[in-house]
């Protein structure tokens, strides 16, 4: 008994440094944030009142101060997720398949494709802010040179702003998904390809019948993390379009941060973050279910 109590004490001594951080900056804020979302919290008031679900109800009441802006930022986020995820999955998959051929310079190419990812969004924002500048940007200058005139407003008008945000995100982060796909491809048993080719399968058939099924677990990981990353997009809009034109490209993270930390509307912003959490949880579960069903259907077929 005393021995067991000593074991427990030792274990908690090992855990103590982490638990202090974890309780202070993960558990406490999760509860604190939920509490704030149930109050009329304001930095200008000494006492806050419990107002129940009012902040949440406001978000779902058309015409309230926050609902229109919140849902338009949710819409912007949804547009970005739907527009970016296919490219962020398909482009890296194809690049990984190319790199997985026996190439002499494969590792050099891999290094090059991954490099933008280590730069960080601020550097990426500076570079592309200049590339995409309507008047002085190199992209419009190059388009002029090949005869396309009429200064495309890459960052200041829709739909071009979306094209830019998606394009820049693909340029910046494709390398990450590429190297993960590549690791997945290396894990596929090469005998499966031999068997497929003995059965007379061409490249395309062995891609659909061997490569794609072999990548299932990696695919689930990549689609889930990519959807979440796109749903949490902030820096690209902040740096390239500042949420414009109007608030068309203002993502929900941008709106929550602005409301909560710049406008001091902390209680509604906390409620918004929990609504977003619920949305993302549903999206993740649906994605997980869909992909698992596909795996099961294949098995029964």
């Amino acid at each position: 008994m005393a021995r067991r109590r000593r074991r427990t004490l030792t274990a908690y001594l090992f855990l103590a440094p982490f638990l202090v951080l974890f309780i202070g900056f993960v558990l406490a804020p999760a509860v604190y944030g939920l509490w704030i979302s149930f109050t009329d919290w304001s930095p200008f008031r000494d006492v806050q009142h419990f107002i129940g679900l009012q902040n949440y109800a406001d978000l779902f009441t058309p015409g309230s101060t926050t609902s229109a802006d919140f849902w338009s930022s949710m819409r912007a986020t949804a547009i970005f997720v739907v527009a970016s995820v296919p490219f962020l999955v398909v482009v890296p998959l194809l690049v990984a398949v190319l790199l997985n051929q026996k190439l002499r310079a494969a590792s050099t190419f891999r290094t090059i494709f991954f490099a933008p990812y280590v730069l960080g969004v601020a550097v990426v924002g500076l570079i592309w802010g200049y590339v995409l500048d309507t008047q002085s940007g190199i992209l419009n200058h190059l388009l002029h040179a090949v005869g396309i005139r009429g200064d495309i407003p890459w960052t200041v008008d829709v739909p071009w702003a979306w094209v830019s945000l998606v394009g820049v995100t693909v340029w910046w982060t494709s390398g990450l998904n590429t190297v993960i796909f590549l690791a997945g491809l290396k894990g596929i048993n090469s005998e499966l390809y031999e068997a497929a080719s003995l059965d007379g399968a061409g490249r395309f058939r062995s891609f659909t019948n061997v490569t794609l099924p072999g990548l299932r677990p990696v695919m689930l990981f990549i689609t889930t993390t990519t959807v979440l990353a796109s749903a949490n997009m902030f820096g690209q809009s902040y740096l390239l379009t500042t949420g414009g034109p109007g608030n068309d490209t203002r993502t929900v993270i941008m709106y929550i941060a602005d409301q909560g930390l710049s406008q001091n509307n902390m209680a509604p912003a906390a409620a918004m973050s929990y609504v977003l959490f619920a949305f993302l949880a549903v999206v993740s579960i649906v994605n997980f279910r869909l992909q698992r069903e596909r795996v099961e259907k294949r098995r029964t077929r």
Binding site: F14, L15, I112, L119, G120, G129, G175, I180, A257, S273
Partner: protein, 286 residues
């Protein structure tokens, strides 16, 4: 892979050569798309402002260091930001390595009351998006008096569940025998942990270190809001300020981008294998 080798035997070799040529051409085009904006950043940083606006895609003429000189004499302490970014990322990485490895060892190897609850709580927070912590953590950091200090960008971010989860997986996979032998020799828990387990865990610790460092280095939203004064900023919020301050001075902005990216790209060039393996290892196994 082997399929292509088998295919080749049946196909005429000219077809194979064409296929290879197309493959290399594709990869080179893609590599150019990645590299050209970076080349252009460097070229522009050596232009004068007028040259940058008038001849955006020619070589710098005259070749000029004005942008770097302006940056050095300007209001924006960019080298300071570089140093702040580096020290914040290093401090947070060390904090994560120490706290996560100790905690993960307890979760992997010790039996104790409340273990399931502690582990369950930690794991469940892996799924919570970071924005949920944004506002309450801002208030907590503000109450602690940490706003605009290095503590704000190192301590709260070290509390994430990923590190402890990742290391626990690794520790569980280590063979028990060596630890048991040490215990029979009379070594205590802490000595076994420091002298036996940590050296064995070096690859996992290195992976976690790379991921933590990159993560902190690239963090954008949090430092933008918790760092206020120019001399306390890190590169990410600093550069976004730079963009605002020199909106049309493209050469200066690009010089800032060069200063910010050269150290990172240099480290990446040296340690690329380790970095890429860390990222993929954590994704495929974790």
């Amino acid at each position: 892979m082997t399929a292509t080798v088998a295919d080749v035997r049946r196909r005429p070799s000219t077809r194979r050569i064409t296929a290879r040529a197309v493959l290399y051409a594709l990869l080179i085009v893609l590599a150019l798309i990645v590299v050209l904006p970076l080349v252009w950043m460097v070229l522009t940083s050596f232009k004068t402002d007028a040259d940058a606006i008038r001849h955006p895609y020619s070589l710098p003429s005259p070749f000029s260091l004005d942008a770097y000189r302006n940056l050095a004499s300007g209001q924006q302490p960019i080298l300071r930001w570089l140093w702040n970014s580096f020290s914040a990322a290093a401090i947070q990485t060390i904090l994560i390595l120490v706290t996560a490895s100790m905690g993960a060892y307890a979760l992997a190897r010790m039996e104790f009351a409340g273990k399931k609850i502690v582990f369950g709580l930690i794991i469940s927070t892996l799924l919570v998006p970071p924005v949920v912590f944004l506002i309450p953590n801002y208030l907590i950091v503000q109450n602690l008096g940490w706003l605009d200090t290095i503590l704000a960008i190192t301590v709260p971010g070290a509390a994430g569940a990923f590190g402890i989860f990742f290391l626990r997986q690794f520790f569980v996979g280590l063979p028990l025998e060596i630890e048991e032998a040490a215990r029979i020799d009379g070594a205590g828990d802490f000595r076994i942990f420091v002298q036996i387990v940590l050296p064995l865990a070096r690859p996992a610790l290195a992976t976690l270190a790379v991921l933590s460092f990159l993560n902190n280095w690239n963090d954008f939203l949090w430092p933008v809001y918790v760092l206020l004064s120019p001399e306390h900023m890190t590169l990410q919020p600093g550069l976004s300020m730079l963009q605002g301050a020199y909106r049309t001075h493209f050469a200066i902005v690009m010089a800032g981008a060069v200063i910010a990216s050269v150290p990172v790209l240099a480290v990446f060039a040296v340690a690329q294998r380790q970095i890429v393996d860390s990222v993929t290892g954590a994704a495929v196994k974790g």
